[in-house]
Symmetry: C2
Subunit: 213 residues, 2 copies
DNA sequence: AACGCATGATCGAGTTCCGATCCATCGAAA
DNA sequence: TTTCGATGGATCGGAACTCGATCATGCGTT
């Protein structure tokens, strides 16, 4: 299964969305609601986000918000899901055949792509994946970062013809975990991303993937 | 400045606490409130924690909760702060002179200590540091992990007589960031900590501190 | 040692605010 | 014209938070 095609299907069909949009205008509404949520989160953080703020910002009413989402947390989860999808498609671009010559180079491309998401995708620094939401029980057996790592590994196998193995999957998962942790910290107190920390991330990435990809 | 003595001073004096406890019973109350919050979080997650639950659990009334905390989120932040303090004192033990022969060994001790916190400190897996709470503006210029790294470095200098330098501080910060990220992931879906992931964390730690401490 | 009293601490009903529902109305498709 | 998806906003229920009454503590006074 390709990852690009997930973009419009993962959200729909999940428990996060109450009613599938049928008419054309309503898919735009749904996007507007998520955009509004992202903007609010960027300004005051997801803890303080209220459903009324989302409605206002999107030029919609409270009722409309609840037509699409079962509850406040579902809005956050839906945004997290959309963020994950956008990351996935950004990574799919990055891992396209013509882009990088070696797996190691591609992994550095992933680092850049993740940093781009933090820089340009509203709300991404706050809720890049649903994992931060502390829900019981966890929404899936796999962590969100684990899912991304799986996707990257699949792309590696397809692109570079490396052999599938538990070691390979572990190495990519480790590398991605690292990337996520360091980039998150680089952007934690600096909206443009702390340069020194990003450089450090790159260095550490080299140390970790050395000979393993 | 020693780290143990922070235990009762970091919380007091911060904006997280409305009224400093002065009588003996009230410091106990404050502790009871935080204990109650930790227990609730362990059971249902901090998203679903209500101030009424905290009051009930602590055998106090709503009014008492609000005597000490300005709002619901401050309760969570205060717990996060106490968690950081407990981590600090656990690390101070770990870095005691007789414990480890080399900085590298000590760093592995730090890994073990962090894992212990995840295992045994109620609420720790959910809100180990204030960073996870996504509030604006950030409470301090330094990230919580950065503060811990600083503390570890100071202890290294005192214990092993290594020379202070930007490189040393950077190396420790990197190593700690790594530890935090991997241990968190090891405990994300497993209350006892995924053994394989903890082993992987140890391996990666070696790769990263190699020759730098 | 006993007392008095200033002030810290507690309580919980009352108020405000927000998450969530309901339903009357609008407008697109057929 | 009819049907049904989509919308707005009044309304409800419950959680966050306030505030004045009341109780407890410990310190200065005698």
């Amino acid at each position: 299964m390709s990852n690009l095609e997930l973009s419009s299907s993962l959200l729909a069909g999940s428990a996060l969305i109450r009613n599938e949009p049928v008419q054309a205008r309503s898919t735009a509404r749904l996007a507007a609601l998520l955009d509004a949520a992202a903007a609010v989160i960027d300004e005051i953080g997801y803890e303080r986000l209220t459903t009324a703020m989302v409605a206002d910002r999107a030029g919609a009413s409270i009722g409309t918000v609840y037509r699409y989402f079962p509850d406040r947390i579902a809005v956050l989860q839906a945004l997290a899901t959309r963020n994950s999808e956008r990351l996935a498609s950004r990574l799919a671009e990055e891992l396209a055949p013509e882009r990088h010559a070696t797996p190691a180079a591609a992994m550095h491309g992933v680092l850049t792509a993740v940093a781009d998401m933090f820089r340009h995708e509203p709300g991404y620094p706050s809720i890049r994946v649903g994992d931060v939401l502390d829900l019981r029980p966890p929404v899936s057996a796999e962590t969100a970062n684990g899912a991304v790592a799986t996707m990257i590994t699949d792309a590696f196998i397809a692109r570079f013809g490396v052999r599938d193995s538990a070691e390979l999957r572990g190495a990519v998962a480790t590398a991605y975990e690292l990337i996520d942790a360091f980039v998150a910290r680089a952007f934690a107190r600096n909206r443009d991303g702390d340069k020194a920390l990003l450089a450090e991330a790159s260095r550490v990435l080299d140390a970790v993937i050395d000979g393993k990809l």
